[in-house]
Subunit: 174 residues, 2 copies
DNA sequence: GTATTTTAGTTCACTGATGAAATATGAACT
DNA sequence: AGTTCATATTTCATCAGTGAACTAAAATAC
């Protein structure tokens, strides 16, 4: 595995040289972009690594967690698509595999019969309660050396960044 | 497109409820993880969106940029694999497509004849100099409302996070 | 100085995720 | 009743990424 450290020093040198050739480049912002992409990618890899023993991928895990976090433990494919940022096609597949493993059930909705009601099973809840805690130590290590202020700051800055990204994709306001 | 805002409020509620069921969960850190993953994913989507008109994907763009940022404009597949965090197989394919488009060349290395020397062409450099500047405005917008201190802080925190992630993947030190 | 091991890259076959289009069903509207 | 819209699934094609086997050349061992 390539270490982030190498990639980052490499990136710093690269951006330095590119901004000499193209001085209009917003170098600090470009650096932040690349940092976000690298760290985000590494974080995703770390997560998938922790999920592998449970034969889950990121989308399946996220879907399951959304259901788990619901007061009534249920949702619909459409809603899950939105919150898990997945296409409908993919969500059908995800639901298929989770149903096959007995972690969720698919049923018809009472009010709107076009809808499908997806619900986490008792086995699904047990599964989450069992698999989640072993992840906590590594999550803690990720933020080793972060003061409470650091965490608050990171939280705040990421939310602001999210806000800006939202506006980028919706150029026209309703 | 689902907005990050919705996903984030959803996530906040979800983590709140989960941490009531499982109080051992490090909620602030888990929130930061999810934020990083969401924002990172959205950033990646934004980048791919900007690259699509140029018929490039993230890996191809990154590979090209690494070469562009080199003083001599050259590297080897192995090195590119490391810095672009790609497998060797994939790098072969990436190099193939970039060669096909005339943006890079593949040649034999003089010293070590196992090695392949990959070099950006004049056309490749022109291509980068032309496609890069139109991206700058949107990069600037991403960090709208960020003070210089904010940017410095985000930079610092991301680098620290990267450091911690590195240590997670290398449990044994050399 | 030959033999073995290691390193660098490529080829091939495969998986996994994603998107577009067609379909089925039911609700809402006119 | 008929049209339009919404929800979900199926099918099909595509693309990015991965692992295993292979080739060639350098490094090391003996």
């Amino acid at each position: 595995m390539a270490s982030l450290k190498n990639c980052i020093t490499m990136m710093d040198e690269g951006i330095g040289r590119v901004s000499q050739i193209i001085p209009e480049m917003p170098a600090p912002e470009a650096r932040l972009c690349r940092l976000m992409l690298m760290v985000g990618g590494s974080l995703e890899a770390e997560l998938e690594f922790k999920l592998k023993p449970h034969k889950l991928n990121h989308s399946e895990f996220l879907t399951l967690m959304i259901l788990y976090s619901r007061p009534d433990g249920s949702s619909t494919p459409g809603e899950l698509c939105e919150y898990a940022t997945q296409g409908a096609t993919n969500m059908t597949r995800i639901a298929n595999t989770l149903v096959k493993r007995g972690l969720i059930t698919r049923g018809a909705s009472a009010e709107d019969r076009r809808r499908v009601s997806i619900r986490i099973t008792a086995a699904g809840k047990r599964f989450v309660r069992k698999m989640l805690p072993p992840m906590f130590p590594r999550v803690g290590l990720m933020f080793a050396g972060f003061s409470d202020t650091d965490k608050r700051n990171l939280d705040r800055l990421l939310r602001r960044l999210a806000q800006n990204l939202d506006q980028l994709s919706e150029p026209t306001h309703p």
